[in-house]
Symmetry: C2
Subunit: 371 residues, 2 copies
């Protein structure tokens, strides 16, 4: 087995796989009675594909109140929050109610914010269902929604009471969503070091191996453990937590751009994968990153992620969006770059010219697309 056998991440908070089974059963037996009412937030997909599995495997309380939201990043908005807040108020949610979020990054990010602000904060637990949510979005206490497509502009630092992670849900995912989570998984390995990077490449040689991977429980536990470690040192992202932003300055801008203009928008992890490739070019230009490694990582990522086509007259629009990234202030582009695998460098300032150059040089972006 290529990964350490992590049993659980945190004895009282985050549980993966077998341990999530035990912990959730225990919580449903002993913990849930402390809440006045239980609300379950799903999207259309998780209601259809994940909720029945849960009902088959666990004894849920008789009187849960289902709240359903539209699926997809386009619905991660204040308007959706308002609809849910109204529903909570109208169905009698009070300060001692519990909100259970069953879904991917959108449901967990939005549901966490909804819970944090309803009556100034009610309890909430996550059952993340996508790979992205399981290894990334559900961990670290960031919640939020987009504002006119600007990523996570409105939100709160607020932790769920518990996180139960079931790799079984990954089987319900369309492949492109599995791939999206893989983008963040690659990022974690690049941040962690050469050993982890080697292990990842051995485990996932190609798309087929991603579809048939047998060790999700261990891999997810390992990835969550890494994120927990980083976040616990800097929960409010004033410094070291920024290493997690690798690929995100460019990636968030790409995601916002694609949400606005593409019929089938890029998924988050796909945008981040391309973001990583652009920021590797910048690392090569700005901080003497080993050029052969840029090629190796880019080649590996391109085995999985399709190219993105961007009209060359749209590159500036993309740069404009980067300036809206929350990491930036006083009109500087602030990036997390890589000095080496396992050596992320935070607070790198890049000029617009450098970024434009990197975008054109990145083989994952096709800037020759017709206007």
């Amino acid at each position: 087995m290529p990964f350490q056998n992590y049993s659980f991440i945190n004895r009282r908070h985050t549980f993966v796989g077998d341990f999530a089974h035990m912990a959730l059963a225990k919580f449903l037996k002993n913990g849930i009675q402390g809440y006045s009412k239980v609300f379950v937030l799903t999207d259309r997909n998780t209601k259809k594909y994940c909720l029945p599995w849960l009902m088959n495997h666990f004894r849920l309380p008789d009187e849960i109140i289902l709240v359903e939201m539209e699926a997809g990043e386009l619905h991660k908005t204040l308007e959706t929050c308002r609809v849910i807040w109204r529903e909570l108020a109208q169905t009698g949610a009070d300060r001692k109610s519990l909100l259970v979020c069953i879904g991917g990054g959108v449901v967990c990010d939005l549901g966490g914010f909804v819970a944090s602000a309803y009556m100034r904060g009610i309890a909430c637990i996550y059952l993340p269902t996508s790979l992205l949510a399981q290894i990334d979005a559900s961990v670290g206490g960031k919640t939020g929604v987009d504002l006119d497509g600007l990523k996570n502009y409105i939100g709160a630092y607020s932790k769920p009471k518990k996180i139960f992670i079931f790799p079984e849900f990954l089987k319900t995912l369309p492949f492109e969503h599995l791939l999206s989570g893989f983008g963040e998984l690659v990022k974690h390995a690049l941040i962690e070091g050469h050993e982890e990077w080697g292990r990842l490449k051995n485990s996932f040689a190609n798309i087929e191996s991603l579809k048939n991977f047998p060790h999700w429980q261990e891999l997810i536990a390992h990835s969550v453990e890494l994120k927990h470690k980083i976040v616990s040192l800097d929960p409010r992202e004033t410094g070291s937590r920024k290493v997690l932003n690798l690929g995100h300055t460019v990636g968030h801008a790409l995601e916002t751009y694609s949400l606005r203009y593409d019929k089938k928008p890029l998924l988050h992890g796909h945008a981040i994968a391309i973001g990583i490739m652009v920021e590797l070019q910048l690392s090569d230009q700005a901080i003497d990153y080993e050029n052969s490694l840029v090629r190796e990582i880019t080649q590996y990522l391109m085995t999985f992620f399709p190219k993105y086509s961007l009209r060359s007259d749209q590159v500036e629009a993309l740069i404009d969006l980067m300036f809206f990234d929350k990491k930036n202030h006083r009109d500087q582009l602030n990036m997390t770059l890589l000095r080496d695998i396992g050596q992320p460098v935070i607070n790198c300032h890049c000029s617009v010219t450098e970024v434009i150059h990197a975008i054109h040089k990145c083989p994952a972006i096709n800037t020759n697309a017709a206007g």
Copy 2:
């Protein structure tokens, strides 16, 4: 002088009167440079009446960005937040920006929430301009907006970096707003004890004395100090802080009702004053409150606050709204009542019949109004 000469409430956080003058001057000289941009939130009234006074008395930074919202409780909504969030994003507010809220309870409550959720939290300071905001709303870290008229349903616990309180602003207030703040002042005295209650009655014998009171600095400092003490013991209102809810279960329902149906809605403190009078009737019924004190306090409050007319077929609608009060859960009406002046009792459960009886018995509500 009837009140102790408090110099400041908290050496680094809340400043009143002369001390606010010194502290704000110092902050503008040394503190404000640490922020990337400064945004000033006002409503139409405080922009017209308070901002010029500030500009006359202080050297504000050259490049402040003004953000204006509509005045009044009806605009304390998510929609207003969204408008302000957009404006912040479009004018380049980043994580290191500062939001300065100049206004009454609505501006401070809403502005505090806007700041707490923008990019998951930017710094904010309050310059409360109404008596209500100076002694109550600005103190204690509660922020929030209404949801379909339901009071403060959406919000966060989030403290401003500093609070500067200038009694000079009270001169700009319409009398009914001064009166509204007086409602919370009476509540504070009733919670504090007989000595404070006597002092209040001596200071304010009638409406004229309220208009011409010469010792606002001391009185505000004293009232803020009391609230600080109560809040610091229970910041998240799990127990003892609930004493501050005296008058609020009935008062919030009245306020919501009035916002929905009256052309000229009750102001918050007016609704609370009537709420106190109804809850005194309940105290008399439910926990053997001294009947002569009910009469004394009611008579005193009615010297200041006009009666409220409610059609008797609307009493039930009012009760329904009480069940939406955030303090209630599991369908119980949870009240803070008075055992004696200075002896508030939290978590008193009252039946609907008792509350209806108290409403009809309260001389401040005219339930004989024509349908």
